[in-house]
Structure formats: structure tokens, C-alpha cells
């Protein structure tokens, strides 16, 4: 048998601490080794190899084999990826699963591959938003708030609803909330826990059945390096990816529960949106984020329609 190929995987999440995204990558590492096809995998957690935003290009150039990252990080290179961090487009985990099998995600995966990267495992992460002084349920609730947002499309929606947007690096969010530079923020449920934002927030809007906040965060692989593998190795990697995807399907909502528990334990009020509240937000998003996206991305309108068409 030929020499063993060692794949390098990198991500920005804590390693070995039960973070579902780390678990996905570690699972793939275990599986490809166990497949005994001359593959080994080295995982670099916690952004210890590449900075989060550098991982995409590193894969395109074949300097990184595998990564788990928010696809929106590459939206500067492929504008259409902005659709994968769009308010109200996913709604809940069950619908995320249906979305994965839809023409919408086929278009996205095609664009990923055209850029030189392939998807090993789909994953949709739910997120939340919370305020320092009170709950955010309806668009009126954010009027006058200083909002720190994780993404451009969400910022557009908050701004449309009357918030002023504060751009602060994620590492300074905690401080900004503490001192009052910002008084509301949105991000993934796991980041809410890992940044310990329950120490600063009074109320959080958890995903529930009507979540506004979802983000596509797949496990990806460099196409250039994938093509270099032999057939057995390619099969093993693909199979491992499918297992990771199945694992994440099960784990993803536990993730949200973990956040809810952490915030409740710390005396933070936890609420979810009703269908009516969700629709009110969707209306705001249509007039802001969706419209903006359709203007800026050539096939943006079509992508949004594809996504909204999913039942």
C-alpha cells in the first residue's frame, strides 16, 4: 500500500469540549482512520492553524484539506453565499433538513464546488438574539437599541426595524455589552454560551419553532486535495462526512437546549417567537435584507425564491 496521506482539518471552535462542530470534524477524523485506506487526519481546533476567515482560501489553494466554517465567511468571494445567513429563511431544524434536499441548496453546493471546495456534511446552526434591558419579540422592541450583529443581512433587518448598528469584533462583544457600548446582539446559540453572554443579557430569544436566525456551517474539503485521493480514500471521506451529518442532525437541537439551560441557570429570561411575531419580522426582512441581497447578487432573487418555496 502507498504511503499514508495525512489530511489537515482546521476550525475555530474549542477542541475536545463537546462543541458539535468540533465533534463533526473529530468524527470524520476517526472514521477515515478506521476505514484503513491509508488516510490519517490531524485536527487543529480553536483557530490554531488558520484564522477563521483565512480557511476558505487555504482550502481553495489546497493548503488546508478540511474545515468547518460558516459559509458566509466566504461571501466576499462568492456573493451568493450571503443567502446562507439570511433572516427567517430557515425557521427551524425540521425545515433545515428539507432545505438541504431542495434546489436552493443544490444551487449553493454547485457554487461551492465551482469555487474549488466540496461539501462533506451539511449543517445548519440555529442562533438567537438578546437584549441587555429587555426581551426582543416584535420589530418595535429594537427601536433605539445599539445592536451588534453577526452578519450584514441581519444588521440590515435590525436597522430597518429602528436599531442602530454597532460594528464590534466578536471578541469585544462581552465588554461592549458590559459597558453599554452595545445593548443587544445576535449570534449562534453556541457562541452565546461560549462567550458567556448570559452574564450580561437580561432576556434572550431562543430558536424554538420560529427561529429567525440560522446559519449554514458545513464541513468542507478542498476540491484540489480531494481529487488527489484514490477512489477508496474518496469514498471513505464521503462516507465519514455523511456520518458527521447524521450526527449533527441529532445534536443540533440539543445545542439549542444547552443554551436555553445555560441562560435559565443564570437567571436570564428565555422567550421564543410566535408565528405572528415571526411573520412580522419576515416582513421587515423582505423590505431590507432580501431586497438588498436581490439587488446585489445577480441570481439573488431566484435563490431567495427557491428557499422560500420549500415547505
Amino acid at each position: 500500500q502507498a504511503e499514508t496521506v495525512t489530511l489537515r482539518a482546521s476550525h475555530q471552535f474549542p477542541g475536545g469540549k463537546g462543541d458539535a462542530r468540533d465533534e463533526m470534524v473529530q468524527l470524520i477524523a476517526r472514521e477515515v482512520k478506521a476505514a484503513d485506506v491509508g488516510l490519517d487526519m490531524q485536527v487543529y481546533p480553536g483557530a490554531s492553524l488558520f484564522k477563521p476567515h483565512d480557511q476558505w482560501n487555504a482550502m481553495v489553494r489546497g493548503q488546508l484539506d478540511i474545515s468547518s466554517l460558516p459559509l458566509d465567511y466566504a461571501s466576499g468571494k462568492v456573493r451568493a453565499f450571503g443567502a446562507t445567513l439570511m433572516p427567517g429563511l430557515v425557521r427551524n431544524h425540521a425545515r433545515a433538513e428539507r432545505l438541504d434536499a431542495s434546489p436552493f441548496m443544490d444551487s449553493i453546493r454547485k457554487k461551492i464546488e465551482d469555487a474549488g471546495v466540496i461539501v462533506l456534511a451539511d449543517a445548519w446552526l440555529a442562533g438567537a438574539f438578546g437584549g441587555k434591558n429587555g426581551c426582543i419579540r416584535k420589530p418595535e422592541d429594537v427601536a433605539g437599541l445599539k445592536f451588534r450583529s453577526a452578519g450584514k443581512t441581519f444588521a440590515a433587518m435590525w436597522q430597518k426595524a429602528g436599531a442602530s448598528i454597532v460594528t464590534i469584533p466578536s471578541s469585544e462583544t462581552y465588554n461592549a455589552l458590559q459597558t453599554g457600548v452595545a445593548d443587544a446582539t445576535d449570534t449562534s446559540t453556541s457562541s452565546f454560551v461560549s462567550f458567556r453572554l448570559y452574564e450580561q443579557l437580561k432576556c434572550i430569544t431562543a430558536p424554538g419553532d420560529n427561529a429567525l436566525w440560522f446559519m449554514y456551517e458545513p464541513v468542507l474539503m478542498s476540491k484540489r486535495n480531494f481529487d488527489k485521493l484514490n477512489e477508496a480514500q474518496q469514498k471513505a471521506v464521503k462516507a465519514a462526512g455523511k456520518k458527521a451529518e447524521a450526527y449533527f442532525r441529532k445534536a443540533s437541537s440539543e445545542f439549542d437546549d444547552k443554551m436555553v439551560d445555560a441562560f435559565k441557570e443564570n437567571g436570564v429570561e428565555v422567550v421564543t417567537l410566535t408565528p405572528e411575531e415571526y411573520d412580522a419580522w419576515l416582513k421587515v426582512a423582505k423590505e431590507s435584507s432580501y431586497e438588498q441581497f436581490a439587488d446585489e447578487v445577480p441570481d439573488g432573487k431566484q435563490l431567495i425564491e427557491q428557499a422560500l418555496a420549500v415547505k
Binding site: H53, D72, Y73, A74, S75, G76, K77, R79, G144, K146, S149, K152, A155, Q159, S164, I165, V166, T167, I168, P169, V181
Partner: protein, 184 residues
């Protein structure tokens, strides 16, 4: 510290021209830093006093300071401001110090020249691919990225000038006064 230069000779004209370029790059870097300070204050004012949205300021300041770092590097080299471990250069003298300075200069030059080429590639890729920043202020990345090949290119040029000045005896090795003998 300043190399001994004559007017009319071509080599000296080259060295003076490089020095002028490096000075210009230093002024540009200083201007970027001033702009960063002004924008930070403007951002705090807009957000805290007016309570309005701040979008572009963080990006502007961050990109501006990265730009200042690269563009300012040749000026800092010209004024011998990049710190080094001067333990060995001070311990030895004469020819040995000259050869060591030659090694140090060639190594640094090799690095700056290599990264200049790599930075040009990155810039070109960003330009051809129409890359934008992933932040809220969609900056076309070729603009801030341009600072890297330009700054490092000028830095390489300044290193070439330093090498010429060293080899032709216009500058002392490490800019150390030769009277300052070895053996500290």
C-alpha cells in the same frame, strides 16, 4: 547613520531617489495613522452622542492600520527603526562585522522580496476575483490589499539600496560607528 552620498554619480542618484521614496512612504503611513485616530473619534461620537449606526469605521481603521504597517516599513528601515538583536554585531568588528551585516541584509532582502511577490499574487487574485470584505462595509479588497505589495516592494527597494550602500562602503555595517569596537 546616513550614507555618504555624492551628487552627480548614478549610484548616488539611485540611493537618493530610494531615500526620497521611503520618506514619502513614511509620510503616507503617518497620514493613515492620523486618519485612523480621527475616524475612531468620529465613530465614538456618532454612536455615543448621536446614537446612530456605525458601519464603515471599524473596517476603515483596521485596514488603514494594516496599510500603515506595510507602507511605513521602508521609512522605518531607512531610519533604522526595525529593532534587531544587536548582541553579536557589537561583539565583533571590522571585516567580520561587514560579512555579518551582509548576511543579515541578504536574509532580510530574501524575505521581503519573496513576500512582495506573494503579496502581489494575493492582490491580483483579489482584484481579478472581485473579492470584497465579509464585513458590513463591503470593501473591494484589492484596495486595502494594494498596500502590501506596494509597501513591501518599496521595502525591498530600500533593502537593495542598503545593500548597495553597504557593499560600496557608503554605509557602515549595521550603521554602527566603526570607532565603537568589538568586545562589550
Amino acid at each position: 547613520m546616513t550614507p555618504r552620498l555624492d551628487r552627480g554619480r548614478p549610484l548616488d542618484v539611485f540611493l537618493s531617489a530610494v531615500r526620497a521614496l521611503s520618506l514619502a512612504s513614511g509620510i503616507a503611513a503617518a497620514a493613515l495613522i492620523v486618519a485612523a485616530v480621527v475616524v475612531v473619534c468620529q465613530m465614538v461620537f456618532v454612536r455615543y452622542v448621536l446614537g446612530e449606526t456605525t458601519i464603515w469605521q471599524t473596517d476603515f481603521v483596521t485596514f488603514g492600520l494594516v496599510g500603515a504597517t506595510f507602507v511605513g516599513a521602508p521609512y522605518v528601515l531607512m531610519t533604522k527603526g526595525h529593532v534587531a538583536v544587536d548582541l553579536v554585531p557589537l561583539m565583533i568588528a571590522g571585516r567580520a562585522r561587514f560579512w555579518l551585516a551582509l548576511v543579515a541584509t541578504v536574509l532580510s532582502l530574501a524575505f521581503t522580496a519573496t513576500v512582495t511577490v506573494l503579496a502581489y499574487d494575493l492582490w491580483h487574485e483579489a482584484w481579478a476575483g472581485g473579492w470584497e470584505s465579509e464585513s458590513m462595509w463591503r470593501v473591494r479588497l484589492w484596495i486595502p490589499y494594494a498596500a502590501m505589495p506596494i509597501g513591501l516592494g518599496l521595502l525591498t527597494l530600500q533593502y537593495v539600496a542598503d545593500l548597495v550602500a553597504l557593499v560600496t562602503g557608503r554605509d557602515e555595517p549595521f550603521g554602527i560607528d566603526p570607532a565603537q569596537g568589538g568586545g562589550i
